[in-house]
């Protein structure tokens, strides 16, 4: 099903056209990928694996793996990156594809070589920010990105950003930061941008192979290389871990927030870091039920305000729990979780099974730094920025990109380039994990005042920046400190609601006793759509962490342009609970109950290498016979030989080796080789592709 409305994202489709999948006529819209069009028609199985016939579908939705292979007009392609066309004949990839016949070689030309002072791989927050710095100095810079627009993962982020308002657009939505940075990039004539252009390899002769616009192979020879390719999601081992419907948060956000399809009806989330928590909220915004979230540790690792947003909407959060299996035949039908002990081992007898159709794995990110490592090994002048350098928030990536841009200018001998020391400090601050939590302060005895449901040290300061009276204070030297509402100097809260609107955590309410001291009005921010609630709607009031505080009727709903899609909802509540009300739920709290009986997973297999369908059992047996070289495991089992090149199984295998007691110093990692993604020979031969 396609999304037809969204509280934040504009939905604007042109006229549909028809294409076929497996002989069946389906609708698609211009600009949709094959994968999006199939998902929109409820098709999640795109083929079957040649080795064991297991159903295959979307996994990365990012062009990195090859799980979503389909045959489009006779040619094997990745459904997640190939745009669907009118009349296209798409067939499932059942088993190995047949190579299309050809009678004569295509027209071939010499491969173009492009010399450039600076090449930036990756047009996300870090790469764009670096390019802007370089562009401002007039340094010729080539910025390449494999997507059809700049922004990286920013374009998937519907929420307002944390961080410092002065430094990194905090309080602005990720999608809008992407647009602003894009405009800044375009304003500099010395920056050239190649979109749909995938970097394939960094070579020892100091050239970078790039697939320009998806249809032409070129070799770029930069004087300096900046690697800003972001991160890839870690995978996880559990039974049924490769069923269609199990995928990463990035894939899910891509399908929902970029491709605008309702990729799930009922979602279960594994991992309570910011990525999982935010993806959960994005699901709710798209009208998808979030059945639950498991986190193995006793506390979610993400920001508490993100966690609380989910909890307030009734999402059950199971800390000290883990996933045991995803169950189903051709896709996820349910998920089984269990409590874990203090060694993170499942406790028998605590299993619970929930019906759901999608399991979102958000258990951490790893830097995409292989280009940087190669460039470094080959003696190129190279830098890394953003997640490719160190995993952190997008706001930190913006800063690390800026710093990298200046460093590159310095490295090229540009005179007068300085890196302000406060930049380095801000970059460090923005990378911070959540710090101390404090107790909520007693409510001030005034008529009108904001309540800050934000008691954890996180790098964020929009509330303090917008208060016209300057009454919300955060240590100006350290935006990680907790905000405090401190009415002083005879100044009082004006009740302007700006802090309520701008808070990225939706964690500020305004309590106003001026009309009725006994039943004060509470103003609540709402980002689930204007349509969900109207004046008179009966709502359940909830406290900071979702605890129910009674019923109320909505007295006002305001959606004004200035508030940028944040709807302000007012309710009148008894004075005693006014400062505790932090949100509301509409209607009865849906909550998917666990199934009455345990569900046996259909497969005992945990897949280590999903490309080559290699099980944990096979690999564990080798490890127990003393194998510590991942390349030997690869040679014997084929784990890591598949289309993704060990990107997914590499970290899993490292972890398995450590779990089996192999000291990290004795593990030999896969040898990394080009190419980053698979590319047809004809493009290397200098022929042009048609994509």
């Amino acid at each position: 099903m396609r999304l037809n409305r969204h509280p934040i994202l504009p939905i604007d489709r042109e006229e549909p056209f028809r294409f076929t999948f497996d002989g069946q006529e389906l609708d698609a819209y211009p600009g949709e990928t094959i994968a999006a069009a199939l998902f929109a028609s409820g098709i999640r199985v795109f083929g079957h694996h040649p080795k064991d016939g297991s159903p295959q579908g979307i996994f990365c939705a990012n062009g990195q793996c090859a799980q979503c292979l389909v045959i489009a007009d006779g040619v094997p392609v990745k459904a997640c990156t190939t745009l669907v066309r009118a009349g296209m004949r798409v067939e499932p990839a059942d088993g190995l594809p047949e190579l299309p016949r050809a009678s004569a070689p295509p027209q071939m030309k010499e491969i173009e070589r492009v010399e450039v002072p600076v090449l930036v791989i990756g047009g996300g927050p870090a790469g764009m920010s670096a390019a802007i710095e370089l562009g401002a100095m007039g340094i010729r810079t080539l910025l390449v990105d494999d997507k059809h627009r700049l922004g990286g993962k920013l374009v998937l982020q519907t929420h307002r950003f944390f961080g410092s308002r002065d430094a990194v657009y905090a309080g602005t939505r990720g999608i809008d930061i992407a647009t602003r940075l894009d405009q800044e990039v375009r304003a500099h004539p010395s920056i050239e941008v190649w979109l749909n252009s995938t970097a394939l390899a960094v070579y020892s002769d100091h050239v970078v192979g790039i697939l320009r616009a998806g249809r032409e192979y070129v070799l770029v020879a930069p004087e300096v290389l900046l690697v800003a390719c972001g991160a890839r999601e870690r995978s996880l081992l559990f039974k049924g871990n490769t069923l269609p419907g199990v995928y990463g948060a990035g894939a899910f956000q891509t399908l929902v927030n970029r491709d605008l399809v309702r990729a799930a009806d009922r979602l279960f989330i594994v991992g309570g870091g910011n990525v999982g928590l935010i993806a959960g909220y994005h699901a709710l915004q798209a009208g998808i039920e979030v059945v639950g979230l498991v986190e193995a540790l006793p506390e979610c690792g993400g920001y508490k305000v993100h966690r609380d947003k989910l909890a307030r909407l009734g999402v059950p959060i199971y800390t000290s729990h883990t996933i045991l299996s995803a169950n189903g035949r051709d896709g996820v039908e349910s998920v089984t979780i269990a409590q874990v002990d203090d060694r993170l081992q499942p406790v028998p007898g605590t299993e619970k099974t929930f019906p759901c159709d999608t399991v979102l794995v958000a258990v951490g990110l790893d830097p995409v730094n292989e280009f940087y490592r190669k460039a470094h090994e080959f003696g190129m002048r190279a830098f890394a920025a953003g997640d490719a350098q160190e995993i952190a928030e997008a706001s930190a990536a913006i800063f690390s990109g800026r710093i990298a841009g200046r460093r590159i200018a310095q490295a090229r001998g540009q005179p007068g380039v300085e890196i302000p020391p406060e930049w380095e400090r801000m970059a460090e601050i923005l990378k911070s994990k959540p710090g101390q939590r404090g107790a909520p302060p007693p409510p001030p005895g005034e008529d009108v005042f904001p309540v800050l449901h934000c008691h954890e040290e996180i790098p964020c300061n929009p509330c303090a920046s917008v208060c016209p009276q300057g009454l919300i204070r955060i240590d100006p030297d350290d935006v990680r400190k907790r905000p405090q509402y401190l009415p002083t100097d005879g100044k009082a809260c004006l009740g302007c609601e700006r802090c309520v609107v701008v808070c990225p955590g939706l964690a500020i309410t305004l309590v106003d006793h001026r009309k009725d001291p006994d039943r004060p009005t509470v103003t609540l921010p709402h980002e689930l759509g204007r349509e969900a609630v109207e004046v008179g709607t009966q709502v359940t009031l909830v406290g900071e962490e979702g605890e129910e505080l009674g019923e109320a009727r909505v007295s006002s709903v305001r959606a004004i342009d200035r508030n940028d899609r944040t709807v302000l909802v007012q309710v009148s509540v008894p004075a005693a609970v006014a400062t505790r009300v932090a949100g509301f739920r509409v209607g009865t709290a849906w909550r998917t109950a666990p199934l009455p009986e345990a569900v046996e997973p259909l497969t005992e297999d945990q897949i280590l290498c999903r490309c080559e369908r290699v099980t944990v059992g096979e690999v564990r047996a080798l490890i127990r016979r003393g194998v510590k070289d991942m390349n030997e495991i690869k040679a014997v089992t084929r784990a890591g030989m598949g289309a993704c090149g060990g990107k997914t199984c590499g970290p899993l295998l490292q972890r398995l080796l450590r779990e089996e007691g192999v000291p990290p110093s004795e593990i030999t990692d896969y040898v990394g080789r080009p190419l980053f993604v698979e590319v047809p020979l004809l493009l290397f031969a200098g022929a042009e592709g048609d994509r």
Binding site: L99, S103, S204, N631, T668, R673
Partner: protein, 386 residues
């Protein structure tokens, strides 16, 4: 680690040659130790090989070794149980100009004289064997259906498993730092991690053979050069033989590829001029060159997607043939080196030969091979199909 009891033989290098040698020595009842500087078996050049196995050489010794290797590999799964992905798909050398036609037909005379199953096919006949060849300008080519290919990784690992089952010991991550001599004969081997007593050392160190030779004061004429290779995505079976194109173009003197049991196509070129040295870092020049050759030779490959590329070392000798035999200067020191990129196809039979050398069980035919591959030969001839 140090062991006080002497080994019957220490093999330096657990690759395409040293691993089968360990098996055959162990099968002969010898107590064998294999030392390798890499973390596991076959991590030097074996893993870089694309797995073509042929007997159709121009040199009689190599022809015999190739034939024997094919016998060993073809029977492996039945004998030992492990699938090494042996496929008897043959080799096809194509001719698009009179130059190749002449070279190939000249060779055919020698090859047929040694009883090899190889014949000349005209263009029409050749297209029946390889229907996807570019027919434009195709004159014909040789076809040797008895040749084939296997997975070098699986084959090497299978030899390793069998060698260990027969009692051979392997130690990885150990660089040999010294070979101890007393009165002109081998007494032991020192490594970065231990000392081992032995009276027999076999140098099977591939591209690093020269450095091992220096440990006994010998200068082996083995110089590595590097070749670049690649592998594609898997597709349904469409190609039986290894296809070899010996037309030189700027940058490469040939190009060859075959379809693996997995359905993937693996391919390689021989750089011209050679890239001498141990550099194994992938280059930007390789893919454009090889892709152009392949798509021109077999247009159907155009839509086949490349998955991975790498470089591997060919330990070259002055005449393109291996150096196998005992050292005359140092008693107990044997060489099985300079395989010139053919370690996978010569290793099993050379390993077997080493077994007979060490146990004293040489047969007359072995003597002929050892004469031809003697490290002390004059290097006058030149192998035509390196």
């Amino acid at each position: 680690m140090t062991r006080s009891e002497p080994y019957d033989a220490v093999i330096i290098g657990a690759g395409s040659v040293g691993t089968p040698a360990a098996l055959f020595l162990a099968q002969a009842g010898l107590d064998v130790l294999v030392l390798d500087k890499f973390p596991s078996v076959g991590q030097g050049s074996n893993k870089a090989a694309i797995g073509g196995i042929r007997a159709t050489h121009s040199d009689p010794a190599k022809i015999r070794l190739g034939q024997r290797t094919i016998e060993i590999l073809a029977a492996w799964e039945e004998t030992h149980g492990q699938d090494i992905e042996w496929r008897s798909g043959g080799y096809v050398f194509v001719a698009y100009t009179p130059r190749e036609e002449l070279i190939l037909k000249d060779l055919l005379v020698v090859q047929q004289a040694y009883g090899l199953g190889i014949e000349w096919l005209d263009a029409r006949e050749l297209l029946e064997i390889v229907p996807d060849l570019n027919p434009r300008g195709l004159i014909g080519g040789t076809y040797s259906p008895g040749d084939g290919h296997c997975s070098p990784l699986l084959a090497c690992h299978a030899f390793y498993e069998e060698a260990r089952r027969e009692g051979a010991s392997f130690r990885f991550g150990e660089q040999v730092t010294g070979i101890e001599l007393r009165e002109g004969r081998v007494r032991g081997v020192r490594s970065t991690r231990g000392r081992y007593e032995t009276r027999v050392v076999i140098n099977a160190a591939g591209p690093w053979a020269r450095a091992v030779g220096e440990l006994v004061g010998l200068d082996h004429p083995v110089q590595p050069d590097s070749h670049e290779a690649g592998v594609t995505e898997p597709v349904t079976h469409f190609l039986d033989p290894m296809v070899v194109d010996i037309r030189p173009i700027p940058g490469s003197s040939n190009c060859y590829f075959h379809q693996l049991a997995s359905g993937q196509v693996t391919f390689c070129i021989t750089p011209q001029p050679p890239i001498v040295g141990e550099d194994r870092r992938e280059t930007g020049a390789f893919l454009p060159m090889v892709a152009r050759r392949m798509v021109d030779l077999m247009p159907r490959l155009a839509n086949l997607r490349v998955r991975r590329t790498w470089r591997g070392l060919y330990p070259m000798t002055p005449d393109g043939s291996p150096l196998v035999g005992w050292a005359q200067e140092v008693e107990g020191y044997a060489m099985a080196i300079g395989m010139c990129g053919q370690g996978v196809m010569l290793g099993p039979s050379v390993g077997e030969l080493l077994g007979r050398m060490v146990t004293g069980g040489l047969v007359p035919e072995d003597e002929e091979i050892l004469d031809a591959l003697s490290p002390y030969r004059t290097f006058a001839a030149e192998e035509a199909l390196r």
